[in-house]
């Protein structure tokens, strides 16, 4: 597998604590094409990313995860990569897993692969109970709103083929956290060849404090309904 064919998109909002480390690990793993989308951070995220010598797109104001991922996809498409990966900045993914999600696209003609933190029995135990219940709720909601029923709809590690990224980019509406579910809905609506692959999750106090909570869950529901109207 040629890692130069792969572009890794890392959305980051106020991640000065982890972003440097995450980027170093990615580079150590051999990924040179990295796009950081700084989503209007008020801390030092932008400068830290710049020092790492990666491509940095800076949102002049905060737009949310969906806005940042859209920018990352659009920017990556300009380089004509074979695979575009989305990778969380908070250090919860293992860079070694990128290979696992990219392979089905390069070798088996898949359009989209999502790395699931909940497919492996051993991995499930690592996820705190509240997060597991919330995750199941959002999986079900994603299904209700017209997506596939998958084990981890909110995962941040995804791989898109060039064409899939283009199709999804053109239809993406989300600005915030609802983007993860919208991806799954768009995958189904466009009949993209899709599968989930088990990945590892690294839970630290840092990554635990972030991410989705119950209120965000309800906001996601509201936004997905609005997407159907507007």
């Amino acid at each position: 597998m040629d890692k130069n064919d792969i572009y890794v998109v890392v959305p980051a909002y106020n991640e000065e604590g982890m972003i440097g480390n995450t980027l170093k690990k990615l580079k150590d793993e051999g990924y040179k094409n990295i796009i950081v989308v700084d989503d209007g951070s008020r801390d030092n995220t932008y400068n830290i990313a710049k020092e790492e010598g990666v491509i940095v797109c800076k949102h002049i104001i905060n737009r949310g995860l969906g806005g940042a991922l859209g920018t990352g996809l659009k920017c990556a498409l300009e380089y004509n990569p074979k695979v575009i990966i989305t990778f969380d900045a908070d250090g919860q993914h293992d860079p070694k897993d990128i290979e696992k999600v990219a392979k089905p696209i390069l070798d088996e003609n898949y359009d989209v692969v999502i790395g699931s933190r909940l497919m492996d029995e051993k991995e499930v135990k690592n996820m705190p109970k509240i997060k597991r219940i919330g995750n199941w709720g959002l999986n079900f909601l994603t299904y209700l709103m017209g997506g596939h029923f998958i084990t981890d709809s909110q995962s941040g590690l995804r791989a898109f083929s060039y064409n899939a990224a283009k199709i999804i980019m053109n239809q993406l509406k989300s600005n915030k956290y609802e983007v993860s579910s919208e991806f799954v809905v768009l995958i189904k609506r466009n009949n993209l060849k899709f599968k989930e692959i088990p990945i590892k999750t690294i839970y630290t106090d840092y990554s635990m404090a972030r991410g989705t909570n119950v209120i965000t869950g309800f906001k996601i529901l509201l936004k997905l309904i609005i997407h159907r109207l507007v």
Binding site: V37, K50, G53, C57, H59, I60, G67, T71, I226, L229
Partner: protein, 116 residues
């Protein structure tokens, strides 16, 4: 005629004049102008002929004419809030598009760093 009726008519005429001024200044689309003209003319008619509301009440099965007005007002308000929500959603998306374009055009390229 009661004082409240006169005040209501004056206000409605004033509102209509604003709508016409805004259309002349191209600040309002024709569709929304027609919508607002319709609303205010209906208000004037209802104020001048209060009995029409009574007929409306009997027709719709609601107790009093004023109640019909209140129900209608709530429906109209809901519709307007919905329209504002849709507009806000679209504006949010447009802002993201603008921010995205700027971010991509002005991106920090790693090639640039190598040249330096």
């Amino acid at each position: 005629m009661q004082l409240i009726q006169i005040l209501a008519i004056i206000f409605a005429v004033f509102a209509i004049s604003r709508v016409i001024l805004q259309v002349r200044a191209n600040a309002m689309s024709r569709d929304s102008a027609i919508f607002w003209l319709f609303i205010w003319i209906a208000v004037i008619l209802a104020v001048v002929f209060p009995n029409t509301l009574g007929y409306l009440a009997i027709l719709t099965g609601v107790g009093r004419g004023v109640d019909v007005l209140i129900y209608l007002a709530i429906i109209v308000l809901f519709y307007l809030i919905y329209r504002i929500y849709v507009k806000m959603e679209n504006i949010e998306r447009e802002i993201t598009t603008v921010v995205r374009e700027i971010a991509i055009i002005e991106r920090e390229k790693k090639e640039k760093k190598v040249k330096l």
